[in-house]
């Protein structure tokens, strides 16, 4: 596909649609204080990028605690229930076993606990990993940020703030001016891929998810 998107207002002549504006910082401290300012300026669709998780950045960005833990609780309960049903279903109905003179009932439940415990852990761990992938939108191998040359250093030792063009408060001139006050590198424009089309259903879906 080589369809070019409708140019946004104030956008310099380019065939590619603007995705976001980004700046680079040298260290975690500068990024942290800049993030507080972006939060206070009221932007919503923006993010900070760092080679490692920065302590306290969630507050600096105004983010809530991750709700992955509630998913994991549900996952763990599923594992527990499944193990209970599996063990008691098989030992009481499908193939009743009397072990050491003890039938299957509530009084003999301690001997059934280890497997319930293991499956609780197993399902919780699976939910923690794959739930994290889902909440983070992973795997996603293409992302407009990867079109930005500086961004290669994000996994090494550089720090970034990116404000997306789809943010309600975004305007090329004022956002650029605002970003310039944060004390990072000069502002860079980050573009979508060549074949990006605003009307693509997948991009609409993505926008809905983020809201």
């Amino acid at each position: 596909m080589t369809m070019s998107a409708t140019p946004l207002t104030n956008q310099p002549s380019s065939t590619r649609a603007l995705f976001a504006l980004g700046i680079e910082f040298e260290n975690a401290r500068d990024l942290y204080h800049a993030a507080e300012k972006v939060r206070d300026a009221g932007y919503r669709k923006w993010d900070t990028y760092s080679p490692f998780p920065i302590h306290g950045m969630d507050e600096a960005m105004g983010l809530q605690k991750s709700w992955l833990s509630s998913l994991v609780f549900i996952g763990g309960m599923t594992g527990f229930t499944l193990a209970f049903l599996m063990e008691f279903g098989a030992s009481s109905f499908l193939y009743p076993l009397v072990v050491a003179g003890k039938p299957t009932n509530l009084f003999t439940i301690p001997a059934f606990f280890p497997i319930m415990f293991e499956l609780t852990i197993l399902f919780s761990a699976l939910t923690a990993t794959f739930g994290m992938f889902a909440l983070n939108g992973l795997p996603r191998w293409n992302h407009p940020n990867f079109n930005w040359d500086r961004f290669k250093k994000v996994t090494e030792d550089k720090f970034f703030i990116v404000i997306e063009a789809s943010d309600k408060k975004f305007s090329l001139l004022t956002t650029t001016a605002f970003l310039n006050t944060l004390g990072g590198s000069p502002v860079d424009m980050i573009y979508h891929d060549d074949d990006f089309n605003d009307q693509e259903p997948s991009s609409l879906l993505m926008e809905q998810q983020e809201q």
């Binding site: 080679p51 998780p53 983010l63 499908l94 415990f117 992938f133 992973l138 191998w141 996994t155 090494e156």
Partner: protein, 471 residues
Amino acid sequence: MSTSTTTLPSHLVSAQEEQIKRPPLVLNKRTMGWISSYVSTIVESKTPRWWYISIAITAPIALLTPLLLCYLVSTGVGVWGNNSPIAWAWDITNFVFWIGIGHAGTLISAILFLTRQKWRTSINRAAEAMTLFAVVCAGLYPLFHVGRVWKAYFLAPVPNSNAIWQNFRSPLLWDVFAVSTYFTVSVLFWYTGLIPDLATIRDRCTSKIKKFFYGILALGWRGANRQWRHYEMAYLLLAGLSTPLVLSVHSVVSFDFATSVIPGWHATIFPPYFVAGAIFGGFAMVLTIMLPARAIYPQLHDMITPMHIDKMCKVILLTGSIVGYAYLMELFMAWYGANPFERDAFWYRAFGPYWWAYWSMMFCNVISPQVFWFPWCRKNIFVVFTICMFVNAGMWFERFVIIATTLARDFLPSSWGMFHPTWVDIFTFIGTFGLFSTLFLLFVRFLPMICMFEVKAVLPEANPHYGEEHH
């Protein structure tokens, strides 16, 4: 803070602060860029010669295990030395040995994470890899121990044509669930920890093929704080889940013995004693593989510092002493319990035909780690390495003593026997060491050996308030 320090003269305050200051986790004030480039260079550079030589040695040894297992299956279980009464012979000994080694990796990655021991960051990746490879070696044994390995799926609760279901109250079935859960969770934990570092290699490497593969594995990680938020929660939860899991796995392994009525096995001390032993043996194995890695890559000295080795030696000393206490308590209970069978079992362990295994175990596990009371022993790499080899051997002897000598003598003289390993037993076991080393060499070559993002996060400048006035 100011209220307590203003009463002291300034030179005393600085002396006090000097005392309180902890040694840096990364030496020589290395930067974040240095950490990435150094650790990634190990993966990116041309394969060194020593690596080819080592794998040329370990890979053929590793082949012994599958070949001999084929021989076992095609010929029959008689090629192993297992007999009646010693039906759980080397295969279960080796299973418990390997699974125990794995536990140190989980302890370092999970329990030390929950207790905020930041020094773990430079050793956890390699220790977790060690866990996985040890569990692979361990898992082979019970699988083939069932005799008809092609019927191993009978262990899984799936409907089968015989309409037979498992006995969920059997510790052997608990073991199936515990070990398979342990392996799965260890893989998840390890891979989750790897993602940001795989992204580092993806962003650094120049070859298209490498970029493709590391890119696929990194899942498109971007290091966004909105991702780190869930990532950190996932990591914390996995650590929290792995902690009871690792304790449960070796407890369940010990239940295989403790729930039986065999004198010498029927003891409530078994779960804590097994868990301490597992951590003890596992830390020795971590050092056994980290010390050579550190010798080969001298730059690792800044990340795996003498302090790390010192702390691991202290863990070995602590857990070794717990194990020693358990051995003595077993002897005490055998005497104090006044059960003639129990007394006889322990007398036989120490003075029967397997006395050499018992006293090797006592020397290697209880006496040898006591040298770590002396700081210079914890600082001297050769002493540390030697003691770790003793511990590795000692932990194998421990499992052999528990299994073979106990089964050799139970209640009736008519069911007494001796175990002698066959050449198949011996070479299958040697093969698992080859398998373990080969997997570890592949890991060192293709994946980042040090958890880069975590090491960066413990640098002083990673603190968002670094260099600011305290208030």
